[in-house]
């Protein structure tokens, strides 16, 4: 400042310029004073503004900190499936380390034994301002690492997504990537909703029931281990609303610790298509009854010998070598009789039925899904083989929705993983008539009472269902001994509430199944055990004195002389 106002040495020498120098100095002083005044005004004004506008910190701000960064996901009863927690993370600033790095690496390896000392030494000597040593550390570990007394090691609390049930319903839930965005499952489907600041404080309810999910995974896991199957899948569906009560695909993964490139990420229920075999027969039969192709249950079809169509030969696994009526066709799971019925019905009606059930489009569900394999060309043989589930490949979820439509009075509804409030079920579309649906309930119940589904019976729960054992297409055509065994069931049959599908991929027969790999011995017991465990949880009260009336169909079943009618017991 002094330098600014001091007159220059050159000016002092000139006498005449003295007066003008004073004037210049005054102007400069004035400008300086104005500057000071202005800056003071600015500060006073800002202070005044702050005093007027700022509110004192209230507890409301603190309460806002309670709202998680990403909303919780809960099951239909409110049990948490995914939560965001404040987890400790341990990091290191390699440049700020003052201790001996080798010694420190050894001590860290002793505290966190999942990595060796070499790994920690590499992190400690890294040429970077900061790197993580461990995410999601337990508080005890943080205390122990802090006790090492190294100033270069830092701790922070970071929001982390935790799945308390770990592997349970992993495929349905999905997981997050490093940027905390959902990459699979419902985490991806609901990403916008879960991160919306206005909505994330209320947890998002899925349709899953945790207890049923747990039972389904444990029963499937048990069967998969005992039959050494490659994979297993199961789904429990509410027939009235289309809600998925449980959905499981094994092998599964732990969303808390996802390793990329894991095959278990695949959700078999929605992402794998299978030729589901005989489990399709009730669908073809419903189409035949509904379209008027079959008007009487007593009508017989020739199943005396394998059926030759062109170069195809259709055989029966449990050949009866006689004429079979409608209940018998399903009870003995006759391919020949089904093919004859389908042939008489024709391509148009069967394909229309499949289309109405959504077999030509991806399943209706929020998560990842696969497109079914719809036959490219409908030959006469295609109509015949698709009727018993060959030549068309759909996902297990397709089958579950289709069975729900068969038994619930004939209305197909899209499956959903979101909780449907009572009375808000989608209207759906009519697939078959009420009367046909009632007939299907009787037929499916008969299959369990007297047919291939006997192992699927759960006493008191009035189970009805159909087995399906499909040969798996391999490198050189279908292989006889590698099967996809499915049991599709619904219960209770007098007023159906739930559809249960259990599927085992390539089971190997054991002593329990007498070496057989068919669905009756592998998948059906899974459904039976599951229903016995979860029926009461799902609100179905077992009753030994109630059942669907099948008395008009029982006389139609022919029995070999001396055979004890199993219905009598």
């Amino acid at each position: 400042m002094i330098v600014l106002v001091a007159p220059a040495a050159a000016d002092r020498r000139r006498d005449g310029g003295r007066h003008s120098l004073v004037a210049v100095a005054q102007v400069r002083l004035m400008i300086l004073m104005l500057l000071f005044a202005f800056s003071t005004m600015l500060i006073v004004g800002r202070l005044g503004w702050l005093a007027l506008s700022a509110e004192p910190a209230t507890t409301r701000d603190a309460a806002a900190a309670l709202v998680p960064l990403r909303g919780d996901i809960v099951d239909r009863n409110g049990a948490p499936l995914a939560r965001t927690i404040d987890a400790w993370s341990i990091g290191v600033q390699p440049r700020n380390i003052i201790g001996d790095r080798v010694d420190l690496a050894n001590r860290l390896a002793a505290l966190m034994p999942e990595q060796g000392a070499g790994y920690y030494y590499r992190l400690l000597t890294m040429d970077a301002p900061f790197t993580y040593l461990k995410h999601r550390a337990m508080p005890e570990l943080v205390t122990a690492v802090n006790a090492l007394g190294e100033p270069g090691i830092t701790f922070a609390r970071e929001p982390e997504r935790l799945y308390p049930q770990s592997a349970l319903a992993a495929q349905a839930l999905g997981y997050l990537n490093a940027e905390r965005h959902g990459v699979r499952g419902m985490e991806k489907a609901l990403d916008a909703r879960l991160t919306n600041p206005a909505l994330r404080s209320t947890p998002m309810a899925l349709s899953l029931d945790l207890r049923v999910q747990g039972a389904l995974e444990s029963e499937l896991g048990r069967a998969m281990a005992s039959f050494q199957a490659k994979g297993a899948a199961g789904v429990v569906l509410d027939v009235r609303t289309g809600e998925v009560m449980a959905m499981s695909s094994l092998p599964t993964f732990n969303p808390n610790k996802v390793r990329t490139g894991e095959g278990a990420l695949l959700n078999t229920v929605t992402q794998s298509v299978y030729e589901l075999g005989s489990a399709f027969k009730p669908i073809a039969m419903a189409a035949a009854i509904d379209t008027g192709t079959v008007t009487s249950m007593a009508r017989r079809f020739d199943a005396t010998a394998p059926l030759q169509v062109g170069r195809f030969k259709i055989r029966d696994d449990h050949a009866q070598n006689r004429w079979l009526n409608i209940p018998e066709t399903l009870i003995h799971s006759s391919n020949i009789a089904t093919a004859r019925i389908a042939d008489e019905m024709g391509e148009e009606k069967l394909a229309a039925m499949f289309r109405k059930l959504g077999f030509d489009t991806s399943p209706d569900i929020e998560i990842e899904k696969a497109h079914p394999l719809w036959p490219r060309f409908w030959a006469r043989t295609t109509t015949m083989t698709t009727a018993y589930g060959h030549g068309i490949a759909v996902t297990p979820l397709h089958l579950a929705s289709a069975y729900a439509a068969l038994v619930n009075g004939g209305v197909w509804r899209p499956a959903t993983l979101l909780k449907v409030e009572p009375g808000h079920a989608p209207a759906g579309r009519r697939v078959i008539s009420e009367a046909t649906s009632a007939r299907m309930r009787q037929l499916l119940r008969l299959v369990v009472l007297d047919g291939t589904g006997r192992k699927g019976e759960a006493p008191g729960y009035r189970v009805g269902g159909k087995t399906g054992t499909a040969e798996k297409p391999g490198a050189g055509g279908y292989s006889k001994h590698v099967n996809v065994s499915t049991f599709a069931a619904a219960f209770p049959m007098d007023a159906p509430r739930y559809v249960v599908i259990a599927m085992l991929d390539s089971p190997i027969g054991n002593a329990e199944s007498f070496g057989l790999t068919t669905a009756a011995w592998t998948a059906a017991p899974v459904v039976s055990r599951l229903i016995m465990r979860t029926g009461p949880l799902l609100g179905v009260q077992p009753d030994m004195h109630r059942d669907v009336d099948v008395s008009d169909l029982v006389p139609l079943i022919w029995r070999a002389p001396g055979e004890k009618p199993s219905l009598a017991e």
Partner: protein, 183 residues
């Protein structure tokens, strides 16, 4: 004249008493408000703690863990259909079990890990065939070993401390008393 002088003094006196009183009221209110805010903050802290503890509890007691306990220790099964009664009349006509007219459905015990049963089977003959006092140490060590392996395959996936030392102490004491009674 004097009254005027006193009037001024009165004013001063009045102001001197009322002002501190007013100030005391405001400061008391501010203090009270501060306390309320502290309580509210404590409530929020507690809520956060509750959430954290709930999450921890749910994680430790997840379905897979509970099923493991059930398979190994409790062996509880779903109620059988006969155990449900349809209504009051059915309840009244309920006869006690054990007359042979009740049909039992298959019990579905959730499968756990079968190891502990195997150990028991190994253990029993060893205790039963206990002939002489020197064998007691052998049995005791066998019990210890069996318990130790049992502990290694610990019942709890998350918390190994749930099988406490007192449980092991009980097993040891029982083995010792059995050995003395056989002597």
């Amino acid at each position: 004249m004097a009254s005027i002088g006193f009037k001024g003094f009165g004013w001063i006196l009045g102001i001197a008493t009322v002002l501190p009183a007013c100030y005391m009221v405001t400061s008391a209110v501010a203090a009270e408000r501060g306390r309320v805010e502290a309580v509210e903050r404590a409530i929020i802290r507690a809520q956060r703690d509750i959430r954290g503890l709930e999450t921890e509890f749910d994680t430790r007691a997840n379905i897979a863990q509970l099923e493991r306990y059930n398979g190994e220790v409790l062996a509880l099964s779903a109620p059988r259909p006969e155990q449900y009664v349809a209504g009051e009349a059915a309840l009244a006509s309920l006869r006690p079990l054990g007359e042979g007219q009740v049909r039992y459905a298959a019990l579905v015990v959730p499968a756990g890990i079968q190891q502990p049963e195997l150990q028991q089977a190994e253990l029993r003959p060893a205790v039963a065939a206990l002939p002489s006092p020197p064998a007691i140490e052998a049995v005791a060590s066998e019990v210890k070993r069996a318990v130790a392996t049992g502990k290694a395959q610990s019942v709890a996936m998350l918390d190994g401390k749930l099988l406490s030392d007192s449980t092991i102490g009980d097993v040891m004491a029982r083995a010792r008393s059995e050995a003395t009674s056989l002597r």
